[in-house]
């Protein structure tokens, strides 16, 4: 009995705060936009069987069809995918050496280094993104610095370009890459590398043949932790990317708040969710495989 209630609590929580809202969004995506409050029809009417049948009959796939007709949407999806993939790659490129350095550091230093990676989370995410605007703008610190060194003659335009979006995403999500990779590298037995060297590997080939394969699970976990939230990212592209950066999160925002077209916005959200479900399933399979390998 106690076990059932223990399981029941989280499931009720998920049911109330995930499944029900999802069903509401799904229902809105099948509705039509209207000048009303809420801004769509039909609304759920459970007063009788007939009214309910009329309600179901009014639902249709029109909004999803619309998404395929206007090329804005699939371009936004593709652009989001591209940005998410490239950002994940750069996060790995920068995050792996950081994690490697941390794992190689003296043991009494590691908690401090770990703290430093987590430290940015103590400041508001919005403030940190805004401060990048101050750094990257034409009169910003970066341009001033480069100008004073004489490296450039006129200020670079970085803000409101995709480059700024990449910088913002890589900066924000770096800890999500560093932490899982670090935890995989930290577990690595040093004698494995010695064994590889003993059997004829150079330091470099021991790194590629032993270190990288054995930190694979951390790399995969980190990549998903960066890729999944980046795909739906809205704040960073809208603050740093200007109008030229097309991302699905931004489209969703605009449909919802600027056009007040809740049904289309909901349809965009449903498709985004479906796209995300694939990497989430892959991520969980990776976790499971790792658990099996360890157990």
């Amino acid at each position: 009995m106690r076990r059932i209630s223990l399981i029941l609590v989280p499931y009720l929580w998920l049911l109330a705060l995930f499944l029900v809202p999802f069903l509401i969004v799904l229902k809105i995506s099948l509705s039509d936009t209207a000048l009303a409050i809420p801004p769509y029809t039909p609304t759920l009417d459970l007063s009788g069987w007939e009214t309910f049948r009329a309600f179901v009959g009014a639902l249709d796939m029109e909004n999803f069809v619309w998404l395929t007709e206007d090329d804005l949407y699939w371009k936004a999806y593709l652009s989001s995918l591209k940005i998410a993939l490239i950002s994940t790659f750069f996060t790995l490129l920068i995050g792996f050496p950081i994690a490697y350095g941390m794992a190689q550091a003296r043991e009494d230093w590691r908690p401090t280094l770990l703290m430093l990676v987590i430290l940015p989370f103590w400041t508001s995410f919005l403030i940190r993104v805004y401060s990048w605007m101050g750094i990257l703008s034409q009169e910003g610190y970066l341009n001033q610095l480069l100008l004073s060194f004489g490296l450039i003659d006129e200020p670079l335009i970085i803000l409101n370009t995709p480059v700024a979006v990449y910088i913002g995403i890589v900066y924000t999500y770096l800890p999500f890459m560093v932490l899982p990779v670090y935890s995989a590298l930290e577990k690595l037995d040093g004698s494995l590398l010695e064994a590889a060297e003993d059997l004829g590997c150079s330091r470099t080939s021991a790194f590629w043949l032993v270190t990288v394969p054995l930190s694979k699970s951390g790399i995969i976990a980190g990549s998903f932790l960066v890729f999944i939230p980046t795909l739906g990212e809205f704040v960073i592209p809208s603050l740093l990317g200007g109008s030229r950066t097309l991302m699905i999160g931004k489209v969703l925002w605009e449909e919802f708040f600027n056009n007040r077209d809740w049904p289309v916005a909901s349809a965009v959200a449903i498709i985004l969710l479906l796209i995300l479900v694939i990497p989430i399933i892959l991520f969980q399979r990776n976790e499971q495989k790792q658990r099996e390998a360890e157990g």
Binding site: S191, E194, A195, D198, L199, G200, C201, L214, A293
Partner: protein, 374 residues
């Protein structure tokens, strides 16, 4: 046809495979290896024995190339190996933790070193197959290390380190993780493999029984120095110091003042006790402090005073350790000293001659023990 005994260390013409020449290794202030000089010959099974922290692992890691000597030189086949990195040495090591690559199958683990040499595929395949056969692992080739037992993992580690046919194989506590029964079986397996392959083995262990079983020569170490290098039998019967006598097996040490009498030495060791007589192996001066070391199994225990024994002492049985095949009697002498005597239990327990609190006589001949100066 006479079969010659394998003892290159007694042959002045034999050329050692490995020579340590005045090697010292310091870690900061700590001296791990202290001015050490040893020779290891080809096809030897050389055991480094000592308590933890005595420098035996450091010595091995210097041979593998993971540490370099602070002073002195190490020669392999007459060549100084200090500048040769571990991946270029004809030396392989079997790690204490086995260090098997968890992401590779048994087959790939064994092939790892061969692949680095860039050998042809079929050559690698043949060699791996040979190693699998040698270590009886054919059935497990496709498994991953976490899918096999501890004993099998130990054999994979051995196969992997032997695959490249090294001139020298280093074994760091190779059997430490196995239970006693498996360890004993594996010891004989190791000797068998060493004999078959003709590779020189250097084994590091803190288990004296293991060293005695497998090794052709045992080097007893303490505090970065070699105390004695000898065959297992000599280490046991002719220890050169109290440290070695005490480290290998069980021993009774009687300390006293020497008094040479003809070819023998009489030792005054306690008031009210008869002197102990022993046979010296070196010159002993009168009044010198000497230690008489005698193994428990060479002390005879009897109910009455034996007629012809050179040394006989009376005492009372304090404790009996019954080990099945043998029993060790702890006999307390009137002055409080406890002497151990070991007897083989070739009779059933119900007919055992002695029990607690019995008055007994301990006796031994004058050649049963050894006189040590330090």
């Amino acid at each position: 046809m006479t079969q010659s005994v394998f003892a290159p260390w007694n042959d002045p013409g034999a050329k050692p495979l490995i020579q340590f020449k005045n090697v010292t290794k310091r870690f900061g202030e700590f001296v791990a290896i202290d001015d050490l000089t040893i020779d290891i010959f080809e096809q030897e099974f050389y055991a480094l024995l000592g308590p933890s922290g005595c420098g035996k692992t450091t010595l091995m890691r210097m041979l593998a190339g993971f540490e370099t000597p602070t002073e002195g030189t190490i020669l392999l086949d007459g060549q100084n190996i200090a500048p040769v990195p571990p991946n270029k040495r004809a030396v392989n090591m079997m790690f204490q933790s086995y260090a098997l690559f968890p992401h590779l199958s048994i087959w790939d683990n064994i092939a790892f070193g061969l692949k680095r040499e860039g050998l042809a595929k079929d050559v690698i395949g043949d060699r791996v197959q040979e190693m699998l056969r040698l270590t009886r692992l054919e059935k497990f080739a496709r498994r991953k290390p976490h899918q096999i037992s501890g004993g099998q993992r130990q054999r994979v580690a051995l196969a992997r380190s032997l695959a490249k046919a090294p001139k020298l194989l280093l074994l760091d506590e190779p059997l430490g993780a196995l239970d006693k029964k498996l360890r004993q079986e594996t010891q004989f397996e190791l000797m068998d493999i060493q004999e078959k392959t003709g590779t020189t083995f250097v084994i590091v262990t803190h288990d004296q029984e293991e060293a005695m079983t497998v090794a052709s020569r045992v080097a007893v170490m303490d505090h970065g120095k070699i105390i004695q290098v000898a065959t297992p039998a000599d280490i046991y019967e002719q220890p050169n110091s109290v440290y070695v006598a005490d480290f290998i097996g069980d021993v009774n040490i009687i300390e006293g003042k020497a008094e040479p009498q003809g070819g023998k030495v009489s030792i005054a060791w306690a008031e009210g006790q008869p002197n102990v007589t022993g046979t010296p192996s070196s010159e002993i001066t009168k009044g010198q402090t000497v230690h008489f070391a005698i193994r428990p199994e060479k002390v005879t225990i009897s109910a009455t005073k034996p007629e012809d024994a050179t040394n006989a002492i009376q005492g009372k049985i304090l404790d009996i350790a019954y080990l099945g095949n043998v029993s060790t009697y702890h006999v307390e002498l009137p002055n409080g000293v406890v002497i151990k005597s070991q007897t083989a239990n070739n009779r059933r327990l119900s007919r055992r001659s002695f029990t607690w609190e019995d008055d007994v006589w301990l006796s031994w001949t004058d050649t049963a023990g050894i006189l040590l100066e330090r």
